[in-house]
Structures are given as structure tokens and as C-alpha cells.
């Protein structure tokens, strides 16, 4: 059964090639949309059957399915082969499942677009690449997917290449696409070098072989410079793809792409590739405590800083983008403290609720003539009830309201960061959670509640078509109940010793890493866990209450305005995203380009090298010009030369003997 895993990836590939080549001849949106969605839907069904199979016959070791040799020279040989195990199947389910829903949604959202077939072709390409990323059995195949999703992200961000988009030194969507690709490439550099180091030290690029080598005698490798170096470089790659500090700057600009793209690539799936890479190599990372600390710190800081930015932004997608960066920070914080399952769990629930939020935002923009500014919306709930309800569910989920999915996953991260990490990490994460609930409810209140602040003459809000609301509803159900896949022991102990399904399911993947970290896997009840849980629920409720007071009850927004005015400089810094883009431009990019232009090109190439060569030519010419003058044409002169020559020769002959 597992031997046919390549079908999962093959179907979207067929979709990509077929739509790319013949899509523009089909001329029928329904047909194109159906083909594009069906390939992903079938992939999902197939992944799901594998998943069911895995439930019945749990795998102790991953199944490796070899297809063919990719790169070979000397002893170096890298196959195209897939690794089927609990981690890759969970990821595949999320990718194809959420991916399928977003494909359906896009049929409605992209209706009438001249690049309709191109859009579906690219989306299929993305799914194909993302599946290779998670299913690949070696670093190089993952890298193929890694770069491939970067390519599709590039193509899709710049999909409307002739539309304006505002950002730091960005006026067109195409520039945002470039930025995403190039910033990601910086991370990819880390990935490349990490692969070289792994190959040199372990003579393999296969995940399984590396894992087995390490597992034989893990403590021999613990904290060695090689392991720390490799893990730091891999983490560097992850900061690129998953938009963590200091490479987080590309994700907000990636919002230039159509909204389904933001939902699928820049919220639900691609940006969690970094978490996947770390989870896939959990044992490796567990052996590098230094790296783990770095990861936890970066994750926590990213969660905090982007949450602060999120509180002041006015673009509906911008807020969600910063929220995504912040939530990814939570996941990295979890990885950093060794809570691998919690991170993967949050990847999953986040895919549900953040995908839903973006699709909801898309639905709002669809009904509002592409208006993005939340200050120009308001009172939309009566125009778009389905969007409103589903959006609300997702907001409750991300805010961590009990029983909604986000509550379970976020709380597990919070608890683990406290229990395995330290109070400081927990405190910063709690503050970020506080801001999360605040900016999300600020968004809901500004968009759906209160006065209608848009121009009624030009904008006639309306609910989106069924192809768009159907995915919203499915995702809302998942956002609401998805959390029950990971019930914490503290809440579920009365019906089972291992109530956390996901924890059990992923146990074979993380057991060695947990062993190294000294996690027994046995749970015991701690009063602290209940207290923390109560605190975080309290925080969320408090934020919701504040947002309600500030933005719904008081339609003049007096309190936020007052606060903004009193902390104007801080507000400006937040509004300008801590000037990170500007700093990069003035410290790195501009000096580099200036050097290239005015030193390397104009001086080294033109003046020095060419100057040298042209100089030599000039000397030759000058020399010739001088010598030429000897040829006077007068016989007398030549006779003098001859005489002089004869004298010299004779003298030399006489004196030399």
C-alpha cells in the first residue's frame, strides 16, 4: 500500500503540467477549477487511506519508498524516494486537505480572472512541491520541495504582476515576490551548507540513516560543534521559510498575492515547513542544547514583536500576516523547549483557523471591492452572515477560548514552555497571547460590528458564492473541534491514560528525541498546569473585553486614539515594523550595490584590468611609433647605423676573447 505513496504527489504534478500546457485552451472556468481541485482532492483521499492503514497497523519505523536515482557521482548517490511515517502523513493530510478546500474556494474567488488556469496550475505545482518537501526521505529531496514551494510562492505572490502594492521600496506585487524569493534564498544558503556538513560527517543525506547513526550512541554526539553547527544552519533555513527574525520581513509583503494564496501558502502550509524540518530532525536538534535555546529565544521574540506590530495595523491581511508570524514564533518556541508534538499540533490547528481567517478576509474583500482597510469597513455581519460566523469561530480559536482548537494547542505550548523552558519564555508568550486576542477581536469588531464606515454609493457588500462559503464552513468545524486530537492529560485523564491522540500517534517519531531530552512520556497532574490554563483563559477574556470596549461599544475609538497619541513615537515604530526593512536596505543592500557599481565595475573592471590591457596596447603602439622614426629612408643614415653596428660588434669580439 505504502509503495503507491508516489500517487499522492503525482496527481498534483499532472494537474500542474496539464493546466499549464492546455489550461488556456479549455476556456471553461468550471472545468479548470474541477481539474485543479480534483487532483488535490484525490491526493487527500489517498493520503487518508494511508493514514487509516497506519492507524490499524502502527508503524515503528518509517517506510522508505525508492523511485529512482536522482544525482549520482562516485560514491555520492541521492535517490528520489519518499518516507512514509506518522509525521509525513499528518503533514500530507493537512496540505492536501486544507489545500483541497482552498482550491474549491479559489474557483469562486478567482472567477473572471484572466489568469484563471495559470492560478490553478501554480496552486497544483505548490501542492506537488510541498508534498515532496514533507515526503522526501532525504535532505536533498526536501530541498527540492523547499525551493519548489519558494518558486510557487514567488509565482503566486506576483500573480497579479501589474498591480500596485505598498511596502518599503515596493510599489508592485512583483517586487514583493522578489523579496520573498530572495530572503528565502538567504535561508536556503544555510540549508545548503548544512547538507554539506551532514554529508561530510555522516556520509549520508537520508533522514533515516542519519537518525539511526545518531540513535546508536546519541550522547557521543551531544553538543559537539558539528551538531551545533548543522542545527544552527538548518534553523537558519527555517527562519527564512517560516519567517522568523531576522528574516521575517518577507511574509507581510507576501500578502500582495491573491488571498487564497495567502491562506494556503503563507499561513497554512508553506510557512510551517521550517517547523517540519526541525521536527523531522528532532533527534539531531535534541543533541544541540545551544541551538535549542537559540530557537526558543528567536521563536519567543518573533511571537512577541510581530504581535506588537499586529496591534496597530489597519490592513485586514496585514494584521493576519503579522499574526501568522507571531503564531509561527509560538511553534518555534515550542520546538526550542523540546515540545515537538505541541509544535506539530499547533501547525495543524493553525492551518485550520488561520487558513479560515484568511479565506474569511478574502471573502470580505470579495464583497467589498478589494477594500483592505479595516477602518473603512464595519457592520458587515448583516451582509455576510456565513463569513461572519466562521470568522468568529476562527477568532475564538486563535484567541485560545476553551474547547476551540487553538486553546488546546496553544495551551500545550504555553505549559511546556513553562515546565520545560522557563518563566521568562512563558511570560513573553503570555503577553503575545494577550495581544493576539486583542488584535483579533479589534479586527472582528472593526470589520463586522458597529457603524458602517464604507461608502455606500460605490461599495455594496454581499455574501460570497457557495464555492467560497463551503470551505469556510468546513474549516470552521475543524477550527472548532480539531483540538480534540490533542487533549492534554490534565483535562482528559479521567477517561484515558493517554488522552492525547496526536501525542500517541507521533510517539515513534519523537521517542528518541524525548529520550535524549529526558522526557519520560508519563504524565502526572500538576496544580500549576491548571493555574496556567486559567491564567491564559483569563488573559484572552480580558483582551476580548478590552477590544469590545474600545472598538465596538465606543464607535469613536476614543481610548485607542488617546493611547496612540500619548505614545506617538512607539506607535510610529510599530506602524513602521521596527524599521527592519529600512535597516536592511541602508546597512546591507545599498552599500553592496554601490560597491558593485562604483568600485567593482567602474574601477576594478574598467580602470584597473582594462586599463592594464589597454595600457599595454598603448605602449606597444608608442614603441612602434618611436622605432618607426629610425626608418628615415636616407642611405647615409643607414650607412652610419651599419658602421656603428660594425664597430660595436668588432669591439665585442675583440674583448670577449
Amino acid at each position: 500500500m505504502y509503495n503507491f505513496v508516489w500517487l499522492i504527489t503525482l496527481l498534483p504534478l499532472i494537474g500542474f503540467v496539464f493546466l499549464g500546457l492546455f489550461g488556456n485552451r479549455l476556456k471553461n472556468e468550471k472545468l479548470i477549477g474541477t481539474i485543479g481541485s480534483a487532483t488535490v482532492g484525490l491526493s487527500f483521499i489517498f493520503a487518508f487511506t494511508l493514514f487509516l492503514d497506519m492507524l490499524q497497523h502502527p508503524l515503528e519505523k518509517p517506510v522508505i519508498v525508492n523511485l529512482f536515482t536522482w544525482i549520482q557521482a562516485g560514491n555520492f548517490s541521492i535517490p528520489i524516494s519518499y518516507q512514509v511515517d506518522q509525521l509525513s502523513i499528518i503533514y500530507s493530510l493537512v496540505i492536501t486537505g486544507v489545500g483541497f478546500l482552498i482550491h474549491i474556494y479559489s474557483i469562486g474567488y478567482m472567477h473572471g480572472d484572466r489568469g484563471f488556469f495559470r492560478f490553478f496550475s501554480y496552486l497544483n505545482l505548490f501542492i506537488f512541491m510541498m508534498l515532496n518537501l514533507v515526503l522526501g526521505s532525504n535532505f536533498l529531496l526536501t530541498f527540492l520541495g523547499w525551493e519548489g514551494v519558494g518558486l510557487s510562492s514567488y509565482l503566486l505572490i506576483g500573480f497579479w504582476y501589474d498591480r500596485k502594492f505598498e511596502g518599503v521600496r515596493i510599489t508592485w506585487t512583483g517586487q514583493a515576490a522578489n523579496k520573498a524569493f530572495i530572503v528565502n534564498r538567504i535561508g536556503d544558503f544555510g540549508f545548503l551548507v548544512a547538507m554539506f556538513m551532514i554529508y561530510v560527517n555522516f556520509n549520508t543525506l537520508s533522514y533515516q540513516e542519519l537518525h539511526e547513526t545518531l540513535a546508536l550512541n546519541p550522547f557521543a554526539y551531544a553538543s559537539t560543534p558539528v551538531i551545533v553547527g548543522i542545527t544552527l544552519l538548518l534553523f537558519m533555513a527555517a527562519t527564512g521559510k517560516s519567517a522568523q527574525l531576522p528574516l521575517a520581513i518577507w511574509l507581510p509583503d507576501a500578502m500582495a498575492g491573491p488571498t487564497p494564496v495567502s491562506a494556503l501558502i503563507h499561513a497554512a502550509t508553506m510557512v510551517t515547513a521550517g517547523i517540519f524540518l526541525l521536527a523531522r530532525n528532532s533527534l539531531l536538534f535534541s543533541l544541540a542544547p545551544t541551538t535549542m535555546i537559540v530557537i526558543a529565544v528567536i521563536g519567543t521574540l518573533t511571537a512577541f514583536f510581530s504581535a506588537t506590530i499586529g496591534t496597530v495595523q489597519n490592513g485586514i491581511k496585514k494584521v493576519l500576516a503579522y499574526s501568522t508570524v507571531s503564531q509561527l514564533g509560538f511553534m518555534f518556541a515550542a520546538l526550542g523547549v523540546g515540545a515537538y508534538t505541541a509544535a506539530v499540533f499547533h501547525v495543524m490547528t493553525h492551518a485550520f483557523f488561520k487558513g479560515l481567517l484568511f479565506l474569511g478576509a478574502g471573502s470580505v474583500m470579495h464583497g467589498m471591492h478589494n477594500e483592505e482597510n479595516i477602518k473603512k469597513m464595519g457592520g458587515l455581519k448583516k451582509y455576510m452572515p456565513s463569513t461572519y460566523k466562521t470568522f468568529y469561530v476562527a477568532t475564538l480559536a486563535i484567541s485560545g477560548i476553551p474547547l476551540f482548537s487553538g486553546f488546546f494547542s496553544k495551551d500545550e505550548i504555553m505549559w511546556q514552555s513553562f515546565h520545560e523552558g522557563n518563566v521568562l519564555i512563558w511570560t513573553i508568550l503570555a503577553m503575545s497571547a494577550l495581544m493576539t486576542a486583542f488584535y483579533m477581536f479589534r479586527l472582528v469588531n472593526l470589520v463586522f460590528e458597529g457603524k458602517e464606515r464604507f461608502d455606500h454609493k460605490h461599495i455594496h457588500p454581499h455574501e460570497s458564492p457557495k464555492t467560497m462559503t463551503f470551505p469556510l464552513i468546513v474549516l470552521a468545524v475543524l477550527s472548532a473541534f480539531g483540538g480534540f486530537l490533542g487533549i492534554p492529560y490534565a483535562l482528559g485523564f479521567w477517561f484515558s491514560h493517554h488522552p492525547n491522540f496526536l501525542d500517541n500517534f507521533l510517539h515513534p517519531i519523537f521517542k528518541d528525541a524525548n529520550m535524549v531530552l529526558g522526557r519520560s512520556g508519563l504524565h502526572h497532574l500538576a496544580a500549576a498546569e491548571y493555574i496556567l490554563m486559567a491564567v491564559s483563559v483569563g488573559i484572552a477574556l480580558f483582551s476580548i473585553w478590552v477590544a469590545y470596549r474600545w472598538y465596538k461599544k465606543d464607535q469613536n475609538w476614543t481610548s485607542p486614539r488617546k493611547i496612540t497619541n500619548s505614545i506617538k513615537p512607539i506607535h510610529k515604530v510599530l506602524w513602521n515594523k521596527y524599521y527592519l526593512d529600512e535597516i536592511y536596505f541602508s546597512v546591507i543592500i545599498d552599500p553592496l550595490l554601490t560597491t558593485a557599481r562604483s568600485l567593482l565595475w567602474k574601477v576594478v573592471d574598467v580602470k584597473i584590468i582594462d586599463g592594464l590591457v589597454n595600457g599595454l596596447a598603448k605602449i606597444t603602439i608608442e614603441f612602434g611609433e618611436r622605432i618607426r622614426k629610425i626608418q628615415t629612408g636616407f642611405a647615409q643614415t643607414y650607412a652610419v647605423y651599419m658602421l656603428a653596428g660594425a664597430v660595436v660588434l668588432i669591439t665585442w669580439i675583440i674583448f670577449s676573447f
Binding site: Y161, L592, V613
Partner: protein, 532 residues
Amino acid sequence: MTALLLTLFLPLIGALLVLFVDKTLEKFIRYFTLGTSILTFLVSLALLFAFDPNNPNIQFYINQIWISSLDTGFRIGMDGMSLLIVMLTTFLSPIAILASFDSIHHRQKEYYFMILILQFAMTGVFIAMDTFLFYIFWELILIPMYFIIGIWGGKNKIYATVKFFIFTIVGSLFMLLGIIWLSQYVGNHILTTGFTTDYLLIKDAAPSIPLNYQAWLFWAFAVSFFIKVPLFPFHTWLPDAHTEAPTPGSVILAGVLLKMGTYGLIRFNLEFFPQASMEFSSIISWLAVVGIIYGALVAAIQTDIKRLVAYSSVSHLGFVVLGIFSMTAIGLQGAIIQMVNHGLSTGMLFLLVGMIYERRHTRDIAEYGGIARIMPVYATFFAIAMFSSVGLPGLNGFVGEYMTLIGAFTSPILNNWAYTIVAATGVIFAAVYLLWMFQRVFFGTNDNPANHTLKDLTKREWTILIPIVIFIVWIGIYPSTFTNISENSTRKLVNKIEQVKFNRTPYPELDKYIDNLKTDKSVQNKQNNNGK
């Protein structure tokens, strides 16, 4: 063997026949030339099938004495590396000729004569198994190329072509000195059978040359090849020559001519002077690494698309040189496949630049913007070539870059990770300069009125590009088809280098070999004397 002779001589025959055609029959000349080069390509396919990849030695060997007093002969043959590059040549030539249909409008007879002579000489370079013959083909290339740039080139063509000529000929002179000295030294001091230019003999004997002589000889050859590659800091002829050459000229120049340098480095420097190569590998690798970064940075700030692509060659060829001087199997294999890749992707970029130039007669990036809307097919092809050049996994560029980098990283000779780490930043810069250019040309709105009426690709242009795209994807996904061809000859070379490295007595079987040779020669001499 017949196939090899045909591959070499068909273009020459074609060129001579073109001379006899009335120059007003331009259309006939065009199709005749195209037909000749396609026929050559088909013949070279026979080579591909007849070639035995398991045999690491020179195959299809032909040995015909030419100047017996110098032991110089018409000696040709090929190993895996030759075969790949020859295939690249026979593959790119018809494409370049087809592209000439659109870009060459005057003095067509002379042009097509030149381009066939060029193909003849290029093929000769890659199959010559005699140093003297190699030198002749090497120099022969200068003549048609000089005229192609000088007559059919752009505004600054005379400066460019003279610069190209002088740079290359200065290098060649060093090589000529090297060839003479080498033949003399090997013939009289090592083999003691007299002056010889037989590649196969020199290849086995030359490694025993003492290092102090090897060093001189090494540089005599190397400088000539470095200029051709071009390796930083010998690269400044290239942007001018590339920019001023007509489109097909640039395609051939980038696609094949530059490979003569890297080919020569493997064929002569590594084969003849493994010890000196090791000795100097670090300095050369540093130059290669500097070239990677330097070329990329300077490419980033160019305003002329063609010049940008030209500078990108400096960057890409840096990877090839780095792979060569890693002197590992994977590094060399990567270098060879990267030579092919660069020929395909940069060749394709030049073709694409030429296509837009034919329409608008400008290559200034600022003149464009928003082209994607009216030329979507063109934009798609451009994107494929660009991502191939950027080294996106799944396309050909990645395979070569990755193999050369891992070769340099694992190389016991370079024995330093810094080369690879610095070189790998090239992957970032490649994305910077190419994507930035792409965005300025294709994205945004089409504001320039001169661009409003641009037409998308014609059928002929499709025909030109499709074959390249097929290979770009093929090599990206299943490079084994190509790497297998050169695998064994590369491995043989690496074994030789390793022997030198570990034994310091370069060629253990040499003595036996020389003895055999002496008896052979003395038998021959006796027979000759008897004959007299």
C-alpha cells in the same frame, strides 16, 4: 570512427560548399547551413549510441601521422567528457543557426560560411588528441569569431572584437610555448623517444615531470584557459564580446567557446600536471570563488540585459572551475555537467534577449516593464531559463552547482570549507540579479508606448527554445543519463590524481611502459634502416 570524422568534417564540407553558392540565394544558403548542422547533429547521435560508457579510455581513436619529424599527427578520439561537450556543440549549433535567420540580415553568405567553420573548429578542439592539432583548432576559432563579432555585431563591435582577439591570442601564445616545451621535455627526457605531440603519450608521461618544471608548464596552459573561461581577473573581454556579438554569436560564445577553457583545464592541466594542479588548486579556487561573487555583484547593477547575462557567466563558470580544482569525482562530474548546463541556460537567455532585441532594438532594462502581459509565452520561457540559471532544484542548474559545491566541500586537496561556504552565497546573489532584472522587465504595467505592440513568440522562436527546455528539465530530474557518460573517464582521472597524491611517484607503470615503447621504436627504427 566514420561518425566521428563526419561530425568533425561535415560542417567544413558544408562551409566549403556554401562558398560556391551565389550570394543572392540567401534563403537557400540559410536552409543549407541549417540542414548541414542538423545532419551533423544526427550523425553525432550515432556517436552517442556507439560510445561505451564503461570504457574510461579514449574511444573512436584515429591516428594518422602528419608531420613525422615532430611526431605530430591527425589524432582524434573522445572520452565521456569530450562526447558530452561535442554533443552540446552539435546541439547548440543548429539552434544558433536557426536564430541567425532572425538576427542576421546582411552579408549572409559570408556569415553562414563563418559559422560552419566555427562549428568545425569547435568540434575539433574537443576531439583533438594531439597537442599541436588542438592548438590549430584552438586558434582557428578566433578567425570566424573575430569576423562574426566584427561584422555582424553591435555598435561597439570593433573595440569588442579586437579586445576579444588580443586577450585570447595572448593566452594562446603562452600555450604554444607550453606545448613546444612540453613535447620537447617529455619526448627527450622522459620517454627518450624524441619530440612528440601525441596526447596519449604525453598524458601518461607528463606527470613525472619534476614539479618545478611542471609549475611553469601548468601556468603556460592555465593562463590561456583562464582567459577563455574566463576566470576572474581575466574576464573583462567577455562582457564586451558578449554584448556586442550578434545573438547567435553570443549563444555560441557562451554555450561552447567558454567551455573550451574549462575543458582544457581538465584535459591538459589536470591530466598532464596533477602535481602542479594540486599545488595551485587553492589559489585558483579562490579566484573561482571571487569570480562567483564578483560576477554576480557586477551583474546586479547592469542596465543592459545582455551585459547582465554576460556577467552572470563569470559567476557560473566560477562554479565550474571550483569543481575542477576540487579534483574529486563528484566535483569534476559536477563541473562537466555544469558546462553543459551553462551552455543550455545561458545560451537560452541570450536567445531570449536576442528575441526581444529584434523587436525593440534596445536592451536597456529601463525601456521595458510589464512585458508579461503582452508576451506571456515569452515571459514563461524567460522564467524557465532564469530559474535554471538561478539553480532551482528540479532544473539543470542546481544539479551542477550542487555537485561542484559538494565536490569542493569534500575535497581532500582543497581541504577547506571556506571555499564552498563563500561560493554558496552565490546562490543568493544569482537570485538577486536575475529576479531583479526579470521583475523590471516583465512585471508592473506596460507603460512604454513603444512596447504596446510587441508580438509574442513566433513559431520559429518556439522551435528554437523548446529543445533547450526539454534538456533543462531532463538534466534537472534525471541527470544520470548524462553523468553516466563521463562517469568512468572522470573516475580514471581522479584515480590518477590520487595515485600522484599518495605515491608521489606519479605513474608506477611508467617504466614498464617506456621500455615497451623503446623496443617498439627501436624495432621500427631497425625496420626503417633496413628499408633504406
